[in-house]
Amino acid sequence: MSEVAVESPRSAENYLTARRGVMSWLFTLDHKRIGVMYLASILAFFLLGGVFALMVRTELIAPGRTIMGRDMYNHMFTLHGAVMVFLFIIPGIPAALGNFVLPIMLGAKDVAFPRLNLASLYMFWGGAVFFVVVLITGGLETGWTFYTPYSTTTGQSSVVAAVVGAFILGFSSIFTAVNFIATVHTMRPAAMGWFKMPLFVWALYATAIIQLLATPVLGITLLLLALERLFGIGFFDPSLNGDPVLFQHFFWFYSHPAVYIMILPGMGITSEIISVFSRKHIFGYRFIAYSSIAIALFGFLVWGHHMFVSGQTRLASMIFSALTFSVSIPSAIKVFNWLSTLYKGSISLETPMCYGLMFIFLFGIGGLTGLFLGSLSTDVHLTDTYFIVAHFHYTMMGSTAIAFIAGIHYWWPKITGKMYSDAWGKFTALLLFVGFNHTFFPQFVSGSRGMPRRYYDYEKLLPAHPDFHGGHWLSSLGSYLVAAAFIMMAGYLLVSIVAGRPAPRNPYGGAGLEWQTSSPPPVENFTTPPVVGDPYDYSKLRFDPRSNDYVRVA
């Protein structure tokens, strides 16, 4: 076979080495550097949220007081939720990975508004500072949902600081969304029509629409909350003639769409990875692309499914339940399309693929258990129990966070220019898989048997429900396995930065444009204009064992 490499030679300077010094990072307008700074910050908050989670799990490993009292526990579970939601999961994939790869996938030099991009990073840091202030000044024990009138009356929390933080983070999110929408519309190469875009770009686009439309509602809600708390203006507190349930409507009007802000980008990454590691064209491209948009739109109409026992009318509950089921269909379609992509492929189980398959497994459980909660009469029994806790951890951690990790591994060679140890990667994936299920599966069972969530202790429940102890004990053990897996992951990824073998241009054989440039890419992303083609056509890529690279054959 005659192999003709058509790529130009690797350029000497890349975006990491082109300029040096702290200032060159802090004032950069390069989307890649901004993405890397986002990635580092978000992972730092993941660590913080993870520490809170371990505190919570350790307290619950045995009945009675284990390591902390009840107020401390309430602070821990709230901070865990707030940090994970606002500082890790929502910005996670779009702001870190999206920022890095979206322009490259479009063959562009940068996002449409590079300054706005940098501003969004500063907004993120600004919002994060408020969360640090909360930690230092009074903590937060309202639950990440800030339900009124608890949040407007509690004396133990820095509610206003937290709310201001979340408000600012909302702007960060909106800036990124505006940028992505404009970039997708205006920066695509002429040869790349809408249906020649990678599915990750579709997913980011759909996510950006939700962020743009839903986040302002959160902003307003939090503003009203702060006003009520500061000045006693009555919006939500019944003793000030407000309506506490109104807050829930406002809050979930944002926070339900927010779960699609979390999951859609994860689905996008999975679509990329499943196709690349099967070396087969993604099955049902248009169905997957349209289903992202469908989820984004339907996602706005289902917030009331969080409120079936809140006292809302029967009619409202009926409508919300019916619409909720309608959102499950596009998700099911995606899963079947991924499976069909595997069919007759040439599947290689490298680390990103292990996480991609893990996503399908865990998202399967997370999605299917959502059916129990969409159905009205079963939701009445299950809501506010550990069943809910398990369900949303399967979708947020088991799906979104796992997809994030898959994406980090998939684009790591591109971002850092280094290869990590695939063997360690696979072993860690296995440990994480076992640990994750060990932690959260028992919670389904405890929950459907009646264990309520947000309980600092369950000793008094044991006489009537002795089995609650076993569930918590398994969960806590599992959480230590998860922690061990993340420590290992941090280890081999960091080792790869200093001692990893240099990454080739295209180590996994991807057909997207990001694999046509060097690893890491030069400042301007491409030294020669990339060749735009079908992002899922692998027929022209051949593995070259000498360079460990996939090269394009004519």
Binding site: N74, G143, G284, S346, S375, S377
Partner: protein, 338 residues
């Protein structure tokens, strides 16, 4: 290997043999709703298990069968899309979720439509106690209900949102301050069942527990008559002690000298206490009465205004019993301060 297995058994064993459970997934079925809800639950469960097994089986099979091997590098020819297949796997889930929606909806309508002749009990939730008020005016911290008779709860909260949850009955409903929410159920067998607060409500959320006691109808009537004048038969300080426990004072006020959310009641009678506004107050009948009815009026130094009012909940007579009880716990007025 055996060692590994036995240590794994030690980890999972206690959970696997959680003997008290009648069903693996769900608790006891003690109300008429339980059967319906469980039916829907199981329907969704089996559909989900089927699809999950299908997804995982296909995934594993494809991964094994189409694994990239030295002798199998290339993909086999197969289409990129297939509209018929896409429609098939859209339509089948649509039909199934329509069924799930319908059955869940039917059960929910039932739960939200109490029969006209239901026996009515008022519920007041406050941080962190439940009060159940029976038609004859008697108040208890446990929910006593007659078996095989529809019972309707008319509920409200005195402070923040709480949620009344009885797992064995499969019912749950939030209690919202400033409005009344309602729920109903029909218990099917006598016994004692757990009652939890399911909406996070602060420090003592996990202590906001009670019991539902289901009695045969005749027994229930007798119990209510008895309970109604139970307090009158006790000496006042004993009656006060009962009230302290049953009306939730004990959640915040210990009687052993240790301060909790509120000050201990041990040895305070006749003491002079400093208030947050700088004034002082002597603990006497009037002060205790004011503390119970208008707790926010004067707040003891070192504490925050966490105590809910008991206006309309405690009768004058009952406040009298509580005063007698607090008196009996000693203090300088009686010269026996600890």
């Amino acid at each position: 290997m055996n060692q590994i297995l036995s240590s794994l058994a030690a980890i999972w064993g206690p959970w696997a043999q959680s003997g008290s459970q009648p069903y693996f997934w769900l608790p006891d079925r003690a109300s008429t709703f339980a059967r319906d809800v469980d039916w829907v639950f199981n329907f969704i469960l089996y559909v989900s298990l089927f699809f999950f097994a299908l997804i995982v089986a296909l995934m594993c099979w494809f991964v094994l069968r189409y694994r990239r091997r030295p002798d199998r590098q290339e993909v086999e020819e197969s289409p990129h899309h297939n509209t018929a297949l896409e429609l098939l796997w859209s339509v089948i889930p649509v039909i199934l979720v329509c069924l799930m929606f319908y059955y869940g909806f039917e059960g929910y309508m039932d739960m939200r439509t109490p029969p006209r002749d239901a026996y009515e009990i008022n519920v007041i939730a406050k941080k962190w106690a439940w009060l159940f008020k029976y038609p004859n005016g008697y108040v208890d911290d446990k929910l006593y209900v007659p078996a095989a008779e529809p019972v309707r709860l008319v509920m409200t909260s005195d402070d923040v949102i709480h949620s009344l949850y009885i797992p064995d009955f499969r019912v749950k409903q939030d209690l919202v301050p400033g409005r009344y929410t309602k729920m109903w159920f029909k218990a099917i067998k006598p016994g004692e069942y757990s009652l939890f607060c399911a909406e996070y409500c602060g420090s003592g959320h996990a202590d906001m527990l009670s019991k539902v006691v289901v009695l045969e109808a005749a027994e229930f009537a007798a119990w209510l008559r008895e309970a109604g004048d139970f307090l009158k038969k006790l000496p006042p300080e004993k009656a006060g002690e009962e009230l302290h426990r049953r009306r939730g004072c004990a959640q915040c006020h210990s009687v052993d000298g240790k301060a909790g959310t509120g000050p201990t009641l041990l040895g305070i009678w006749g003491e002079t206490h400093r208030m947050t506004d700088g004034s002082t107050a002597v603990v006497d009948e009037n002060y205790v009465r004011e503390s119970i009815l208008e707790p926010g009026k004067r707040i003891r130094e070192g504490f925050v205004n966490q105590m809910p009012t008991f206006k309309g909940v405690l009768s004058d007579e009952e406040i009298g019993y509580l005063i007698a009880y607090i008196k009996s716990l000693g203090g300088s007025a009686k010269g026996e301060s600890p």
